[in-house]
Symmetry: C2
């Protein structure tokens, strides 16, 4: 009997509950937290031995929200002003083998669970592999970053209404780093620049972090948080993991 | 119709013709060269657009030589003197999702073909994804390298007999960098430290680079190249790519 092609080693529990609001790259939002519990069939008490000595890990994620049914060869990076690049010149999730590559800070290993931060993955993502980050293999600080060097950061200023600031303060003890997390998430400008309706000044948005709903508006380069409240409704339910990964 | 879980985007043509002699990590052997031709179904003239601007790429390799039929939770790194580490604390090929992660220098893109160097993959390896290396996402020079910091380099000196040096000189024009490639490969000590028979001083070994056979012996920390000749026999035939990856 041969092995399956791919297996989920665990399913990520992330502070980001929806794609909208999940950072587009790792290490932008240091206060982002996530947990990965290794499935019992992979004997975590042995298979994680020695991992706690590393400060960073690679997560290979299966992009199960990928809804493409046919191959698309080019993509429009949201910040590249209409120009296209080939899918193999991008980190887009829509690719022939829909595997994402993200580095995360390994905060600690506790039994079968990795505690992670600085991550860019949405809650419910199946993780197909965990590898130690080995700088002698993986770190190439002088690598030439191609078109990504020409993409403007387009950061927003982030402010809170007095009411939202008070709400965040009250929830901070239960969610350490909450205010900085919200600032880090909104600073990136979550709006899709190709969706004109989203760019209208003052349009209300919401995103879900932990079990909270964050309401905000964007006007003239400033994101103003208007509400930080227990989520009055559930975010979209998790998309189930493909059964083939859970054999 | 949904996508297959994984697809080979191409099959690597590497200067390393056998596992024995293939470096254990990338960027140890700068003169190693490889080519990756993207399959026509992935429309390389579009899907590679913009990739030529990057200096380095990630290759996600499918470890199809993995012959494990059941999960093994710990491994013995050859240079860790008998100690074991968990499979998720290692980069070993035997893992639940047998995907390898290697950075390579992108020398150039020519039509449907990537010309690569500094790679650690054997000829015939199916590549399931190519991604640009983006230092802002991927480079963490200060990451703590765990147990790998305690593994001695154990480098050998490399010498050539007069005859082998003359042979290499004659073949160099057709194989630029050949002598440096051989030195880089043998410097690492290819012998398995847990196989006592390999450690006997003077035992003859051979490895295959391009279409050449390299003969060598190791004595007292020195690898001496004894022959650099057109391979008198084929190296082991390529193990076929799993058909599921070639749909």
């Amino acid at each position: 009997v041969s092995q399956p092609l791919l297996q989920a080693v665990g399913v990520l529990e992330s502070c980001f509950k929806e794609k909208f609001g999940t950072p587009r790259q790792p290490n932008l939002v240091p206060d982002a937290t996530a947990k990965l519990r290794i499935r019992a069939k992979f004997i975590p008490e042995q298979s994680l031995k020695g991992l706690e000595e590393f400060s960073h890990v690679w997560l290979l994620a299966y992009f199960h929200l990928n809804t493409n049914t046919r191959f698309v060869s080019t993509i429009h990076p949201p910040r590249l002003e209409g120009k296209t690049v080939g899918v193999f010149a991008s980190r887009a999730p829509h690719r022939p083998s829909p595997i994402g590559l993200s580095v995360a800070r390994l905060v600690k290993v506790e039994g079968d669970t990795l505690h992670l931060s600085e991550l860019d993955l949405v809650d419910g993502t199946p993780i197909v592999d965990v590898k130690p980050y080995i700088p002698a293999y993986d770190s190439v600080p002088k690598a030439v970053p191609g078109w990504t060097a020409r993409v403007g950061a387009r950061e927003l200023d982030v402010e809170f209404t007095a009411e939202a600031a008070a709400q965040a303060r009250k929830l901070e003890p239960k969610n350490p780093g909450l205010r900085r997390l919200i600032e880090g998430v909104l600073r990136q400008d979550l709006r899709n620049p190709r969706d004109k309706s989203q760019l209208k000044d003052g349009k209300p948005f919401e995103t879900f972090l932990y079990d909270l709903m964050i309401g905000f508006v964007v006007k003239k380069g400033v994101a103003t948080v208007t509400a930080v409240v227990p989520a009055p409704k559930a975010p979209k339910p998790r998309v189930p993991v493909p059964p083939a990964l859970l054999s």
